[in-house]
């Protein structure tokens, strides 16, 4: 029911041309399975999943091919059955134009599912739900691809009041949530109810921008059906004013509940959690049907003959999708996402991933090159437009001058990169580019700082250890010497002189003991040629000895001279 609810406002926002009608004229079509699926292992925020399949292996639809690695990571699955051709570096749908690990699957056309069934989340422990959702690969489908299991962890958020379902879809050209709500409203609500039960939330608020009357009508009908069938009255549908970026999580929460989530806090601290409608749909599929996230709705729009929404298997090359819509000859770029926040793709061969809500084909006619950047005139238009209540011009100066510490002080990381500031800037400054530059520099520095701190700690520990080993060694030697002294002292106690100091005693005892040892050794070793001699031999030896003594006498003065 579109409740008569008091709505709030966020600061700023812009109203760009929406261009949404063209792609909503046709229903969702299922995109054909491509000849080759390239599924990147890293499709969510967090750690890179480790590959679970080897080249040559046969995989089934829905089989896990990448296992979550670390606390923040989400699994990936085979989108259809087939043979793994390679696990190798492939071009990623990323602005950098760099490659990353992908699993390349050649579909066998049979589309054979792995055995699967519903998951009883009511009977499961929170940890089981956590692991199940992580291994189902469900992530936020609004574009941020944050693993959903981390947001649905009921252990942490006991006192959650409101579950906000985000159907605002404020960015131009994108209509995937719109058509999903029109065609599959009941499923979305089922998913929302599952999430509500997991979180123990009191009410479900669904925010939809008022430029989607068909979606609102469909959702209203579905909510009414749920209400009459199950007596479920916690779902509230709210039509929110069309204003970019009303679909930002913090902005939508503010519009619906009036709660302004401050810097450094999460919405859950205020009892609100927010999910995209597409995520609710994926949650329903994962929990009620046991199907992991292997496909999503993608809008193909922009410079194409017939813009449309498709249900696409993850890993399908964007080129194949664009071909279905008849790209116009002057197309020269592909953007993943919308014109405000989208990322330019290195080329059209990159695969559709979980983050790809829209494949926007561009041309010089549709998106003319920006006019040259001119100096900031400090008009303050950007601050008026900023939905995050920041001061974009300050951030711009600091980012431009590479004074990153100051940029952080002005809360650069609260910037959602919505592009409102750049949209209104009369000097055509690409402000968001500067913010992205500053953010990634700061991240890199933080990482370097962490690793250098760790290196310092390890180096200092090594120094400590070496010092300790040295001391241990010296102590051992000292103990040995002491033991020897004691022994010698014990042997000499009888002969000890009373006049001598104990130190001298010790030294003398040591010397005496050493001499004694030498004498004993000498006694032991007797040259064999001096035993059992005949009298003649003895006489000869004596003669030689006297001669030697004489020579020694003669040599003495020379030795002295030498000295």
């Amino acid at each position: 029911m579109t409740a008569l609810q008091r709505l709030f406002k966020f600061n700023g926002g812009v109203k760009p041309a929406y261009n949404k009608e063209a792609s909503t004229r046709l229903p969702i079509a299922v995109a054909p399975t491509p000849t080759l699926l390239v599924i990147p292992l890293h499709q969510s925020i967090g750690g890179m999943p480790r590959p679970l399949v080897k080249p040559g292996e046969r995989v089934l639809k829905g089989q896990r091919i990448g296992g979550a690695d670390g606390n923040v990571s989400s699994a990936v699955h085979a989108s259809t059955s087939g043979t793994v051709i390679a696990v190798e570096m492939r071009l990623m749908p990323h602005t950098s134009g760099l490659s990353a690990m992908c699993v390349v699957i050649e579909p066998d056309g049979r589309d054979e599912w792995i055995p699967h069934g519903p998951f009883d989340f009511r009977g499961a422990t929170p940890m089981q739900i956590h692991d199940y959702l992580r291994d189902s690969g469900v992530v936020g489908l609004g574009g941020a691809v944050f693993p959903s299991y981390l947001k649905l962890n009921p252990g942490k958020q006991r006192n959650l009041d409101t579950l906000v379902l985000n159907g605002a879809e404020c960015e131009p050209f994108i209509t995937c949530d719109d058509v999903l709500m029109r065609e599959r409203a009941a499923t979305i609500l089922q998913g929302a109810l599952i999430m509500r039960d997991m979180l123990g939330a009191g009410e479900v608020l669904i925010g939809i921008e008022d430029n989607k009357p068909e979606a609102i009508a469909a959702m209203e009908a579905a909510a009414h059906a749920v209400k009459t069938a199950a007596g479920e009255s916690s779902i509230k549908l709210v039509s929110v004013p069309t204003l970019y970026p009303a679909g930002g999580a913090k902005q939508l929460i503010r519009v619906l509940t009036g709660i302004e989530v401050p810097h450094g806090k999460r919405s859950t601290d205020y009892g609100v959690q927010c999910f995209n409608v597409g995520t609710a749909y994926a949650i329903f599929e994962a929990i009620a049907l046991g199907q992991p996230l292997i496909s999503r709705i993608v809008t193909v729009a922009g410079n194409v003959g017939q813009p449309r929404n498709f249900e696409v298997l993850l890993g399908t090359p964007m080129r194949d999708l664009i071909a279905l819509c008849g790209p116009l000859p002057d197309s020269d770029r592909v953007i993943m996402g919308g014109p405000m926040m989208g990322l330019r793709m290195p080329d059209d061969s990159v695969p559709v991933v979980k983050a790809a809500n829209c494949v926007l084909v561009g041309s010089r006619g549709l998106f003319p090159p920006p006019p040259p950047e001119m100096p900031c005139i400090r008009c303050g238009e950007c601050a008026k437009a900023c939905p995050a209540d920041l001061q974009p011009f300050e951030l711009y100066w600091f980012a431009r001058a590479k004074i990153f510490g100051k940029a952080q002080e002005y809360d650069l990381f609260d910037c959602i990169e919505c592009g409102c500031c750049a949209y209104v800037c009369p000097s055509h400054i690409p402000l968001v580019d500067y913010y992205r530059f500053a953010k990634s520099e700061i991240w890199a520095r933080e990482l370097a700082k962490v690793s250098s701190d760790e290196a310092r700690e390890r180096y200092e520990f090594r120094m400590l250890r070496e010092e300790r080993e040295k001391q241990d060694h010296a102590a051992k030697l000292a103990a040995k010497a002491a033991a020897r002294r004691e022994k010698a002292a014990a042997a000499k106690t009888d002969a000890a002189k009373e006049t001598a100091t104990p130190e001298q005693d010790e030294k003398k005892a040591l010397v005496a003991a050493a001499l004694e040892r030498v004498r004993a050794q000498k006694e032991q070793i007797q040259p064999e040629n001096t035993i059992n001699l005949t009298p003649e031999q003895v006489a000869e030896v004596a003669a030689i000895e006297t001669r030697r003594a004489e020579i020694r006498e003669m040599a003495k003065p020379h030795v002295w001279q030498d000295d």
């Binding site: 950098s96 990353a100 992205r436 530059f437 250098s452 290196a455 310092r456 390890r458 180096y459």
Partner: protein, 187 residues
């Protein structure tokens, strides 16, 4: 006159006592300047500065015994930060201490390693694991790229590999836009 002298004397005694107490109570252990310099140094512990580690070099800088441009891993940016901190003039990196190289990690060729443990003893941050006559390996995440393990290796099985750019560590570039000459003329 006497009262004035007394007051001044009392003041001196009280203030002196307070200062004396503060000197004992708020005594600073170690040299805070060394800590600050050490925080800027990259902690590679490579010894290229001719001191046995980053901390000894920091101590030497603080005492004024060393120049600030002896740390190749810190590069020009590190020198600039040191110059800012110490109020000294920026100097380009001293050539005798080496050149700035891209960050890299040591990799042991496991086919050649004979398990002599010499590299383990040389590593300043204990980033090499292994035992006598057992294969050694480098913990890449903790390797500072100091290259100190290269000279002791009797079979030359350690090589330095530069950390390449990946999707994870890629950085957005500083926005640079071509200026169209025709447009400039028009303007």
């Amino acid at each position: 006159m006497l009262a004035a002298l007394l007051v001044m004397a009392m003041g001196a005694v009280v203030l002196g006592a307070a200062l004396g107490y503060a000197a004992v109570r708020f005594r600073v252990e170690g040299d805070p300047l060394v800590e600050k310099i050490d925080a800027i140094l990259p902690q590679t512990q490579c010894g290229q500065c001719s001191y046995p580690g980053c901390r000894p070099y920091a101590t030497a800088i603080a005492k004024g015994e060393a120049e600030i441009n002896q740390c190749p891993p810190g590069g020009d940016e590190g020198i600039r930060k040191l110059a800012d901190l110490l109020g000294r003039e920026f100097k380009s990196l001293s050539a005798e201490h080496g050149i700035e190289k891209p960050k890299s990690v040591a990799v042991i060729d496991e086919q050649i390693c004979i398990g002599c443990t010499l590299c383990i003893q040389a590593c300043p941050v204990d980033a090499i694991v292994g035992a006598s006559k057992q294969l050694h390996t480098v913990i890449a995440r903790q390797c500072t790229g100091c290259e100190l393990c290269l000279p002791p290796c009797p079979v030359d099985c350690i090589s330095m590999q530069a950390i390449g750019e990946s999707v994870e560590n890629w950085k957005w570039k500083y926005p640079v836009f071509k200026i169209n000459p025709a447009q400039r003329e028009a303007a």
